[in-house]
Point group: D4
Chain length 229, copies 8
Amino acid sequence: PDVTLDLDRARRCGFPEVIFGEGKPAATIATIFDRLLAAQVRCLATRISEEKADLLRAHFASRKNPTARYNSLASTFRVDPHDAPPLERKGRVTVITAGTSDLAVADEARETLDWMGINVHTINDVGVAGPHRLPARLPEFVGSDAIVCVAGMEAALPSIVGGYVDCPVIGVPTSVGYGANFGGIAALLSMLNSCAANVTVVNINAGFKGGYLAGMIASKLHDARQRPQ
Amino acid sequence: PDVTLDLDRARRCGFPEVIFGEGKPAATIATIFDRLLAAQVRCLATRISEEKADLLRAHFASRKNPTARYNSLASTFRVDPHDAPPLERKGRVTVITAGTSDLAVADEARETLDWMGINVHTINDVGVAGPHRLPARLPEFVGSDAIVCVAGMEAALPSIVGGYVDCPVIGVPTSVGYGANFGGIAALLSMLNSCAANVTVVNINAGFKGGYLAGMIASKLHDARQRPQ
Amino acid sequence: PDVTLDLDRARRCGFPEVIFGEGKPAATIATIFDRLLAAQVRCLATRISEEKADLLRAHFASRKNPTARYNSLASTFRVDPHDAPPLERKGRVTVITAGTSDLAVADEARETLDWMGINVHTINDVGVAGPHRLPARLPEFVGSDAIVCVAGMEAALPSIVGGYVDCPVIGVPTSVGYGANFGGIAALLSMLNSCAANVTVVNINAGFKGGYLAGMIASKLHDARQRPQ
Amino acid sequence: PDVTLDLDRARRCGFPEVIFGEGKPAATIATIFDRLLAAQVRCLATRISEEKADLLRAHFASRKNPTARYNSLASTFRVDPHDAPPLERKGRVTVITAGTSDLAVADEARETLDWMGINVHTINDVGVAGPHRLPARLPEFVGSDAIVCVAGMEAALPSIVGGYVDCPVIGVPTSVGYGANFGGIAALLSMLNSCAANVTVVNINAGFKGGYLAGMIASKLHDARQRPQ
Amino acid sequence: PDVTLDLDRARRCGFPEVIFGEGKPAATIATIFDRLLAAQVRCLATRISEEKADLLRAHFASRKNPTARYNSLASTFRVDPHDAPPLERKGRVTVITAGTSDLAVADEARETLDWMGINVHTINDVGVAGPHRLPARLPEFVGSDAIVCVAGMEAALPSIVGGYVDCPVIGVPTSVGYGANFGGIAALLSMLNSCAANVTVVNINAGFKGGYLAGMIASKLHDARQRPQ
Amino acid sequence: PDVTLDLDRARRCGFPEVIFGEGKPAATIATIFDRLLAAQVRCLATRISEEKADLLRAHFASRKNPTARYNSLASTFRVDPHDAPPLERKGRVTVITAGTSDLAVADEARETLDWMGINVHTINDVGVAGPHRLPARLPEFVGSDAIVCVAGMEAALPSIVGGYVDCPVIGVPTSVGYGANFGGIAALLSMLNSCAANVTVVNINAGFKGGYLAGMIASKLHDARQRPQ
Amino acid sequence: PDVTLDLDRARRCGFPEVIFGEGKPAATIATIFDRLLAAQVRCLATRISEEKADLLRAHFASRKNPTARYNSLASTFRVDPHDAPPLERKGRVTVITAGTSDLAVADEARETLDWMGINVHTINDVGVAGPHRLPARLPEFVGSDAIVCVAGMEAALPSIVGGYVDCPVIGVPTSVGYGANFGGIAALLSMLNSCAANVTVVNINAGFKGGYLAGMIASKLHDARQRPQ
Amino acid sequence: PDVTLDLDRARRCGFPEVIFGEGKPAATIATIFDRLLAAQVRCLATRISEEKADLLRAHFASRKNPTARYNSLASTFRVDPHDAPPLERKGRVTVITAGTSDLAVADEARETLDWMGINVHTINDVGVAGPHRLPARLPEFVGSDAIVCVAGMEAALPSIVGGYVDCPVIGVPTSVGYGANFGGIAALLSMLNSCAANVTVVNINAGFKGGYLAGMIASKLHDARQRPQ
Ligand SMILES: Nc1ncnc2c1ncn2[C@@H]1O[C@H](COP(=O)(O)O)[C@@H](O)[C@H]1O
Ligand SMILES: Nc1ncnc2c1ncn2[C@@H]1O[C@H](COP(=O)(O)O)[C@@H](O)[C@H]1O
Ligand SMILES: Nc1ncnc2c1ncn2[C@@H]1O[C@H](COP(=O)(O)O)[C@@H](O)[C@H]1O
Ligand SMILES: Nc1ncnc2c1ncn2[C@@H]1O[C@H](COP(=O)(O)O)[C@@H](O)[C@H]1O
Ligand SMILES: [Mg+2]
Ligand SMILES: [Mg+2]
Ligand SMILES: [Mg+2]
Ligand SMILES: [Mg+2]
Ligand SMILES: [Mg+2]
Ligand SMILES: [Mg+2]
Ligand SMILES: [Mg+2]
Ligand SMILES: [Mg+2]
């Protein structure tokens, strides 16, 4: 009675409901997953701690579902219906990080894109203090359907990436830094005020949302390429 | 010497540089436009006051360019090269407002989309206080390439719109409201924390950016439909 | 000497003093409860940790008072005078949550309403990302005396609930979320700026206050129905 | 096309839509009012400047509707259908102000209550610096259905009023004060943190909302007294 | 070399330096105390944790100084020169708290006043939710030289105390509360905006400063009474 | 009916009510003053604009009261009963400013002290950028009963003044500065965090409060010197 | 008496006192300048409005000092002693702006450097949205003694400049932008969190300070080059 | 693949890349160091916890590099190439702290300067509450190339130091203090608003940046003295 699932989500929105793991006991998450799996949904939960992951792993072991897997860097947990067919891959998204300390957030984005069946390429640690690093890798990201740009501290990277490309750049501010970074506010404000017209922003540390939006764009582009008018 | 134009922008990013009108004298803007027009660029400037618009109108009258036009609701100024061919229309973007007080910001988005050559449809004043208003108009926005959702006060609208569609919803928070709206912070935070996975956010009152991102997505989708793989 | 009880509260305000448990040692709370029980008051303390609850349970076990009970979800502790008569139930309040992560705060509201003798109905996990969930349950909440609406993140729910009913909607913002939710500020501001005219707000995570106000309204309505003019 | 009226509001919520006047041209407001009057709705608009009021007055003079009236203290504009029957009065709400500088906000509340047909009593300038002033007037507010308490600066008044009564106290923080009042934030936070359990809060300077909620409670109590169970 | 003591402080300011214990290792504090004791100074350190207190107690036990004492409620540590004469008592300060959760901060004030040799009287738990509690104790505080008023949450108390007396009221905001109390900001702003002209403010949780200022005033009044002009 | 005077204030608090002029029409202030004068009160109003001062001057000219006077630097208005005896002077307060831009706030303090009958000495423009300026004037402020220290920008002055004296230093932060001074927040926080134990703080730009508190202390010290125990 | 000049400043700090013009009447500034000129000081005042400049120009015309000059872009006013020798130029500072809207602040820096006798070079409008613009001008700034980098919005520029050079980069955040730029806070936080180790920051819009610090460094480098060890 | 080193940094910026240790696993840091050492770079990492230091020490012990060393006060880790020649010392920087609680941040600055080969002198605990302490030590800091001034609480020290010297003063605000220090915001704002023209600011607790900038200035001055023009 405490849960009201939205099983119609994939029809309306293209992808099924993803579970926000914070503040939910492992048992609640297991129940939700069981119900989603029964409806043939591939499941993804974000913000899952190691402790909850252990309980979930045990739960799906007891249910003999071998697809359950935890990504401890991204803090995501996934499990598929027993007989789910392999996911066909589509589109092209690049995930770029400013520094190696941004990797956890970036991996939540990458994992989300993987769950959506999107092709992902990652470019790490090309922040602006070494200004030659980003242009050197232009060929790797210039033809993307969408770019997820993950950065903390002053988060200058999305503005610069935006200046090189003709696709949306989804900025994911991170809480990486200290002092007047105020837990990611500095990066968030920086991205919101980007002078590059193609930069949009999601919540601080919201790797999931950054990945989801990029994946939605890539997915629609893939479909448009398949089904020309 | 005070201006360093980026004439290569359209090649790299798909659309040419747009001029941010605030803090620039009309004479500076006129000079920039003259140089852009000489390079055959269709020009758009945002955040242009009535006073600056009068000076710009006079400038282009003296240059016998009849395409100069000011939109006083959107505070935008546009002018095209004398012999620019008519713009071919493409894609489909819907701009939705929560209340009639949000119209100025929404019209900056609409004008930007028009400048990009995108087909735009608008739905006004369907905020949540009258919860039946939005679902009643579902058929008008459900097949959009992207949606720009403009809302002030508590800005609940993008989350709800997001729950109905399979395309990106670009939230544009406005400063409409008073007191603890803090000039749009309430709406901004509301959108950043949206529980709908397909909602992304731009700066407060940034109708231009909201329109630009939606237009970029629609434009790429149009191209993909034309050039299937 | 450190405590100055307000034993006249029930006469002036309709309900006796409730104890705020944070920052008070268990021994102090036990002393306060003993004095309230001696004055024939049904006792409620909020924000009681598991540790303090254990000490309080032991205290009332030693006093042979079997009514002592702890609600670990709501973090409330209650104990009645030995010979308190059963509470007569009155009024009708609905507690609605946006997500399952809001349950702890909602249960503090529900427990407070139970202590006041109010009939409570709960509707959980009907937030806006699945926009069909709330209207589907309209019959369950449309005739309420008052509604307590508990939501975190962007807290769009109270505005929408407000648009369906003719009773006060008391918004309780929660700290559920992360990043730019700023510990509940986003939800608080969202509710304060609600465009629904019948939405009022209490402190972040203040399930107690939300429940208390709804209970006071329901109680007065019950009395008015009993004693017509 | 820019306006989507919610003509069903009175049936769902008990009272018709009220127009938020800020950011709407007088002509738009006149159009909305004409359509509401045609639907036999008594009209109220808030936050109307002297300039807009002049235009609205002229509009309704030309339509020979003598009921149009502007309250320049409250910044409200009202107009009734030509043949609207006199409003029957019901319930009892008290509006209390801390200082004479809070009068404009309080009068918006009083005007809203008057529009709802509620009996209103006002008590002014009884803030805490003169602590004997409030208790001296206890008989005037102690039996209220609801109290609207309007205060700026440190806004201590609602907590004290709350301690004397058994009805909801709706705090309306004002921006009265200077410096670290931060445009009403000090008063808002003070009310949100009230140690009185029956204090709830609306937006800064939101006299309309404070009045509306109190009026809704008084109206329901009146109806309950008329139609006993 | 890391410490530069201000041994002249008592001559200039009337009282010697007090040690701020946070962020200083116990060994550093012990060294400072040894040097102050050698200069015949009565020592006080504030914000001393239990762990540091244990180390300091051991240090002074080894030095056979029996005057070392820790107050775990106030988190203060004191030690006197071996042969310090008894302190003569002077003046009259009242410390008033709004709630029992404010006691730790109030006791830091009381301990500071004790160290200064001031007569202190305390009145606890007379916050405004029970509005009769404070006036009932008027005789206990009306003739004070200065009042320290310690309150969290909405901190209405100092304004009301201020309205009853002709002496300075030093408000000490505490971090007691939750949610929108923002760690004491609500209480701080409330006190800064007090409409009572005789209320001044110190830092959040700064019991030391509140006590020190009240003690300085009482001490000067005592001296003035002894040495008439 | 809109005003509830506190004519008992002088008996309780030592000095009569002072009128806060902001947000009150001149006519209201004139009425209040007439009633206070009838009760033989010397009147002071703060935050009076030039426009209101003109109206008040005309009012008292028509009443043939020659004592009405406006201080346009301090924005204060004063008027005495016709036959008020000359004020006897007492105590010693020093008002110190950091820069010449702080003079308006400082003069509100000085005018308040003058109204209280206190001897005031002022020292201007001795901020820390010229560190020799303050110590050079030590003899002028070292024996004060209390010091009012008025400073904007980083407001370092009160901490330094505090280190030289044995009396309370009442810091009045001003909004002087720009950018990250945030309208006086920088100065306010600086003073609240002063490492000098004898510094206390009032609201931003609250010259009135700073003067009032210093005057109250000086007045009590004067009385103590006159009436030894 | 309201002014306490620091005539010793040039000896201690290398350059004489500069006058902060805000909040000082023109007459006060004229008096200060007269006294500084009498002491043979070259005078500079910042933040001078057109109105004050007119009064100052008239003043120095009447004193027959032809050196008085106002820079209306920078809002600075300068005047030299009648017989001041020509300033010898030294060092090399580059002032770089992100956009043309930052020019006013940049010109305050440039004017300050000119007053200090420093050689200044300016590079305008090379913000990151056109990422090729800055590297194209590397030869112009790579050998600077210090760089002043003036930027609003997301202020990414200083971090990138910092990555190219071996000299201090002094970031001057501007209030250019709108919405979530919060009057320059976004730019300020961005610069404070710069991942480039050689970026330091001054106040929002503090062109004066940025220029002064760069000038001080260039001046010391010049002297070191002249007087080798 | 997760790391993109900037091995060209020393050529461009004068000093090689320093590793920000927070959020990077020890193994990642060890890998980075190995690669830097292979390129003959002297390595420095900041914000290294005791746990990571233990792992790094073990790593370099296994690699038989005896130069690895951890500074637990500064939280820095350093290691040099096996055969690195001794560092030649140059320049003169003074690091000044306000209180002993600021030592950890100051030592990060000192360690950074040591790594850069700069001569450093430290002066501790000379904050303004004891105003004679700083001037007494003037000879120790008056001829510095640059000064790093580390202070928490109200951070008045840099303004005063700035008034005594002709070199840049780099303020490093610390989070030392409590309550309204807001984790260092008070100190940061204080320094940003310094009325001393030669004070610039880095991030809260950014001892590294403060040291780096001072070292860069001292290094350039040293080179200028060696290579006169
Ligand atoms: N002064 C006011 N403060 C807050 N809400 C208001 C105010 N006046 C009207 N409203 C509400 O704002 C809603 C949306 O207004 P509108 O922008 O007119 O469509 C209305 O339905 C009213 O409930
Ligand atoms: N709890 C406290 N709150 C604020 N200031 C304090 C506290 N305890 C001591 N102080 C002051 O802090 C100053 C500097 O402390 P220290 O860091 O010990 O040199 C002392 O001179 C005291 O005036
Ligand atoms: N400039 C001022 N700043 C703060 N408080 C003031 C000021 N002027 C008067 N007051 C106080 O404000 C209280 C309430 O003022 P009023 O709004 O006039 O009833 C008075 O009792 C005074 O103590
Ligand atoms: N535009 C400015 N921004 C910041 N500080 C300034 C500015 N102009 C002058 N100053 C400094 O402000 C100090 C105090 O100024 P004053 O208020 O004129 O006494 C001067 O010594 C200058 O160092
Ligand atoms: Mg790196
Ligand atoms: Mg509407
Ligand atoms: Mg759910
Ligand atoms: Mg009054
Ligand atoms: Mg209590
Ligand atoms: Mg000066
Ligand atoms: Mg440009
Ligand atoms: Mg010390």
